[in-house]
Symmetry: C2
Subunit: 250 residues, 2 copies
């Protein structure tokens, strides 16, 4: 697995609020990364026994981690049927990007007012690493850093609650991308990200908000044009399609 030296993303606070004593924190991060970086495809079942063996702990700990991921909407749990990697519906995917527009645009005034040179340098560094990853074709790292950039940008506002919300939205965006988008189109193209740093550095609130709105709409557009159910509503529809084919053939 990619050894990640700087966890810019990953669930808000690492001193996690529940009784995570380090071990299940590790398990959580492993699963989180596996899901968000699309090592586990949406819909993949996550049996408690398997995970328990994998990490050498009892199901108890696994269930705790699974519950956390469920709360973050990265896994779905149905009664007596266990957990699986979440498959955002088209509607959910839209909601996620809509919510991102609300939060990321709405936080821009705070960000601009609190943007220090040091903070902007941190952003620039992320962009540098993002373009580097992009040039060497490491799309996984590229997507990761793209998300990390958005989180870090809002992080400048200094509002932990908002940052947590956005972190969750960015993770879920990755899931939506994995479910509907083509991998290469997914990461924000040509490091547009540099542009917004300039705009923010110039103190142009209105411009930054417009940039962000357009940027997020661009990303969404490359992703959700699949329009209809991913693999669900299968049987009936498939059978009907088959029926039509056969009538055509004869």
């Amino acid at each position: 697995m990619g050894k990640r030296t700087s966890p810019e993303l990953e669930s808000g606070r690492n001193d996690n609020g529940l009784g995570g004593n380090g071990r299940d924190e590790t398990i959580y991060r492993n699963l989180f990364t596996a899901i968000v970086e699309n090592h586990l495809a949406p819909g993949t079942k996550l049996p408690e026994d398997t995970l328990a063996e994998t990490y050498g702990v009892s199901r108890t700990s696994i269930r705790k981690v699974l519950q956390r991921l469920t709360h973050e909407r990265l896994v779905d749990v149905r009664l007596n049927r266990g957990a699986s990697v979440a498959q955002p519906s088209v509607g959910e995917a839209r909601d996620i990007f809509s919510a991102r527009r609300v939060i990321e645009c709405g936080a821009i005034p705070l960000v601009v007012s609190k943007a220090t040179p040091a903070a902007l340098d941190g952003l620039r560094d992320l962009v540098r690493r993002e373009t580097a990853a992009q040039e060497r074709g490491d799309w996984r790292e590229s997507i990761y850093l793209s998300g990390a950039f958005h989180v870090a940008l809002i992080g400048i506002a200094g509002n932990e609650t908002l940052t947590d919300f956005l972190t969750q939205l960015v993770s879920r965006s990755s899931l939506a991308i994995a479910t509907y988008g083509s991998p290469q189109t997914a990461s924000c193209r040509h490091s547009e990200h540099d542009d917004v740093i300039t705009i923010i550095a110039g103190g142009d609130v209105e411009g930054a908000m417009q940039w962000m709105d357009r940027h997020l709409r661009d990303v969404e557009r490359t992703v959700v044009f699949a329009e209809e159910e991913p693999a669900a509503a299968d049987l009936k529809k498939i059978l009907e399609e088959v029926a039509q084919r056969r009538t055509k053939l004869r």
Copy 2:
């Protein structure tokens, strides 16, 4: 406990995403209500045994509920020290209201564009019940309905994700109010809520956003002027104060 016929508030989806099989869902709601309506003061310890006996289940189920409430930031859990009702710091309280301004103002355009007469009638009904509760001095119901109004308003946007976020923020606002505010000032005064319905019905996006921003700043102002730590940082400070008193006295 108040028999509540219409659960407008309460954690996003009632068909909860985790394995809640009805029984622990009930436990969750009871605890949720007890915390949000301030039957349990912030800081109150929540021992697992006690809760288990109270609800006639094993600690296992209690821990699940407690974890959920922890994720929603309504309880704090410290390693090996158990759970207690969360005490938002002043900084957190500010962040909560700041986040509410971002989300509730940012969602206004969506709300206005999707506002149907039926939806507005639903809002009016909530206001009616809120003023009724206020007039009969039922401040608990009044606060509840005030929060429910804000959630229902954003709910018109039809974005479940945003609604979930706001639901959490409103619950945490109640905790902040319980921690810092005086009860009667807490509920939004004189049913201002009616005003925004009119503005929205008129299609005035800009006006509605300004109203919401001012409204939330008003609510925040009546609450967080305590400025400094609630009861924390006790020992040292208290001892120092006592020391000063004694030097004055002699």
